[in-house]
């Protein structure tokens, strides 16, 4: 059997595994109840089953019909995905043991993943750097303050683009941090720390 449409094949697999997960998880851990008095497992179990069925249909389509449009080109493979998850798992586990908070574990994992991507998978640069930039922003807000978080977000994400010029990005960062400060901190009075937690003077 030849896979004629990889897009349908992988989409089918994705639906089947998600559906299976929800159906099995709800069956195993929550009460099913009856049709009259539905337990917490009833609806997700039925939906999970439906999703498996639909996923099978999509999977079969992948073997029967020729795919249309552009060929499927994902910038990563299954191994990359596992490595990425492993990086986060290991560093999040490690951080508390060396006396660092979860925030720093997340930041460290993000940085490691970014470096790995830029070195070994440049075609996935946009995907990884954009996602990681958001992560770092969220988790560095407490330890580094709004200034540090915004700088991390702007520089990491801009590096995920096609062109990266230091001076341009620096100017962009200055404009954005000024704007964030005026609109969100001053205007909407959101309680963000401005400076890194270590600098107690500002």
């Amino acid at each position: 059997m030849r896979i004629k449409s990889p897009k349908d094949f992988w989409a089918g697999l994705m639906f089947i595994s998600t559906g299976l997960f929800f159906a099995i998880w709800s069956y195993a851990f929550y009460q099913m109840g009856t049709a009259v008095r539905m337990g917490p497992a009833y609806f997700p179990f039925v939906l999970g089953g439906l999703m498996v069925f639909l996923g099978l249909l999509v999977l079969i389509e992948g073997f029967v019909f020729e795919g249309t449009g552009e060929p499927l080109r994902l910038p990563f493979n299954i191994v990359d995905l596992i490595i990425a998850i492993a990086v986060f798992a290991v560093l999040l586990e490690l951080a508390p043991r060396v006396g660092l908070s979860v925030d720093w574990g997340m930041i460290a994992a993000s940085v490691v993943l970014s470096v790995l991507t830029v070195l070994f998978r440049p075609e996935a640069k946009a995907l990884v750097l954009i996602s990681v930039a958001c992560l770092v922003y969220g988790y560095s807000m407490k330890p580094l303050g709004l200034v540090g978080a915004t700088a991390a977000l702007v520089f990491i994400s801009a590096y995920g683009g096609h062109e990266f010029k230091w001076k341009e990005v620096l100017v962009l960062f200055l404009i954005l941090i000024l704007f964030s400060y005026l609109v969100f901190v001053k205007g909407l009075t959101l309680p963000f720390p401005m400076c890194p937690a270590a600098f107690s003077f500002c």
Partner: protein
């Protein structure tokens, strides 16, 4: 006289200085993002949702609505002048609008687009005012089984109208429904699918999911493409359409408005479908179809009226039934919920100033768009020259700050990033994210109504086919599914979407 009375109440709310200001902000922002390709109304509204928390509900909705229909205006401006559809609903406007611009008739094309949109906006506002109250009246009589069937119908209609594979679209809806169930089960208090993460006990935040699926995913997908935007600017000289232009286009405007208003009400409808339908219709009824694609003014007038009418009438199911017809309406419901208002037919009676104020503001907003936009066209077009490499980090900053401020918790930003990756994979696998968002919103509602209906019927599943209204929705859903599954129509549908992709 009731209608008159209500409209007066509405205009009283809409023209208060504060609401005028928010309407203005909304339509300006809408036009701005309409002009910029790669930033759509869905991402923008998702971005602004956290901010609306600090506003009163009327102002918040007025601003968000302004973004949606403002985007239709902005999108057509760039479609005509530079052949870039700023919004997906203005793709067809490129066909004839840009040809007109190349023949030196950019002014009349823009003017007709604006006039058509304004006319359609006025009519659609009236339609909402007339049609919504009786619909809400009917909806008040709905029991759980009617609601459940209505939601099934809405979700099926949304998938039928989505592009690409029907099965994939339904699977995405189910995926969304399942994700919507994460969190505490209302009936039993059991934590479902939370994996011991305390942040998940309230469920996954809707804004967070929408930002990831439509915001970050879109940026990543845009960066995958090469940045190759070129701007050829033809000077806009005389703006006024000739007598002949007006004579040729008034009927198209009428047809576009009528078609757009109908298609907008359908679940899954809205601006996009309306503009494609109107273009096809104009080509069919025209006495000189060979001119289409070569600068026929009917090809601008029809779709432009239709997309504005559709954008506005798609508010009807949201306002009267609490059921979102498209992703933007799903966000509107999200905005209502943030304000602590349960969307549904009772909103009209309990919050008349919200309901009628919103409707009146649509007319006011449309007027602003016509008055402001024609003189400001030059400025909007200049914005197109801003390179994407400045835009996307800025968009990211606003999204991240918005999501973070929801609960000052980095976990929300993490979830946004995860959904960004998921959304990117879905786009690559040709699975549409919009049906998933609808499912996500409706998941808990559907389960609740299913449970109640089954409890009332003592576990008899045929209850959905015994009550007439419920049966009607079920039959309609079945008919829709059969129609789309038929090979002939399937081919036609694919053809329509291929034409769209060009």
């Amino acid at each position: 006289m009731d209608l008159f009375h209500n409209l007066i109440l509405g205009f009283g709310v809409a023209v208060s200085p504060l609401n005028l200001l928010y309407a203005l902000i909304g339509v300006l922002l809408g036009t701005l993002i309409g002009v910029l390709p790669g930033v759509g109304p869905v991402a923008t509204i998702a971005m602004l949702l956290p901010i609306t928390f600090n506003l009163n509900p009327v102002s918040a909705l007025i601003m968000l609505a302004g973004i949606y229909y403002g985007a239709q205006y902005g999108g057509s401006t760039t479609a005509i002048l530079v052949n870039i559809p700023g919004e997906s609903s203005s793709v067809v406007t490129c066909l004839d609008g840009y040809q007109m611009a190349r023949q030196g008739r950019a002014g009349p094309a823009l003017a007709i687009a604006a006039i058509g949109s304004f006319f359609a906006g006025c009519v659609a506002t009236l339609i909402i005012a007339v049609a919504a109250p009786p619909l809400a009246e009917v909806a008040l009589k709905f029991g759980p089984s009617e609601y459940f069937s209505l939601m099934v119908f809405g979700l099926i209609a949304a998938t039928v109208l989505a592009r690409g594979s029907l099965v994939k679209a339904i699977a995405m809806v189910v995926f969304g429904l399942l994700l919507g169930l994460v969190g505490t089960d209302v009936n039993s208090g059991v934590l479902r699918f939370t994996f011991g993460i305390p942040e998940l006990s309230d469920g996954i935040g809707f804004v967070v999911v929408a930002m990831g699926m439509f915001g970050t995913a879109e940026i990543i997908a845009n960066l995958d493409l090469k940045d190759k935007r070129e701007v050829f600017l033809s000077k806009v000289t005389h703006l006024y359409p000739t007598k002949d232009d007006l004579k040729r286009s008034w009927a198209s405007i009428l047809r576009g408005t009528a078609l757009g208003s109908c298609l907008g009400i359908l679940p899954g409808g809205g601006a996009l479908l309306a503009s494609f339908g109107a273009y096809t219709l104009e080509k069919k009824v025209s006495s000189h179809p060979e001119q289409f694609g070569k600068g026929a003014i009917e090809g601008v007038a029809g779709p432009e009226s239709a997309n504005n009418a559709g954008a506005q009438t798609s508010f009807i199911p949201m306002l009267t039934l609490g059921i979102p017809g498209n992703a933007v309406m799903a966000l509107m419901i999200g905005a209502l919920m943030i304000q602590g208002i349960a969307p549904g037919p009772q909103v009209m009676n309990e919050k008349p100033e919200l309901f009628w104020g919103l409707i009146a503001s649509m007319w006011v907003g449309n007027l602003m768009l016509v008055v402001l936009n024609l003189p400001m066209i030059g400025m909007w077009v200049k914005l197109l020259t801003v390179p994407y490499r400045y835009l996307f980090p800025s968009i990211l900053v606003f999204m991240a700050i918005g999501v973070f401020s929801l609960s000052n918790n980095p976990f929300d930003v993490l979830i946004m990033a995860v959904f960004g990756v998921l959304g990117y994979i879905c786009v690559k696998l040709e699975c549409e994210p919009a049906p998933m968002i609808l499912g996500f919103i409706l998941g808990p509602l559907m389960e609740e109504n299913l449970r109640r209906a089954m409890l009332l019927s003592r576990g008899d599943p045929f209850v959905f086919f015994q009550k007439p209204i419920s049966l009607g929705f079920m039959v309609a859903s079945a008919i829709l599914l059969v129609i789309v599954a038929l090979p002939a129509i399937r081919a036609k549908r694919e053809e329509a979407f291929v034409e769209e992709a060009k």
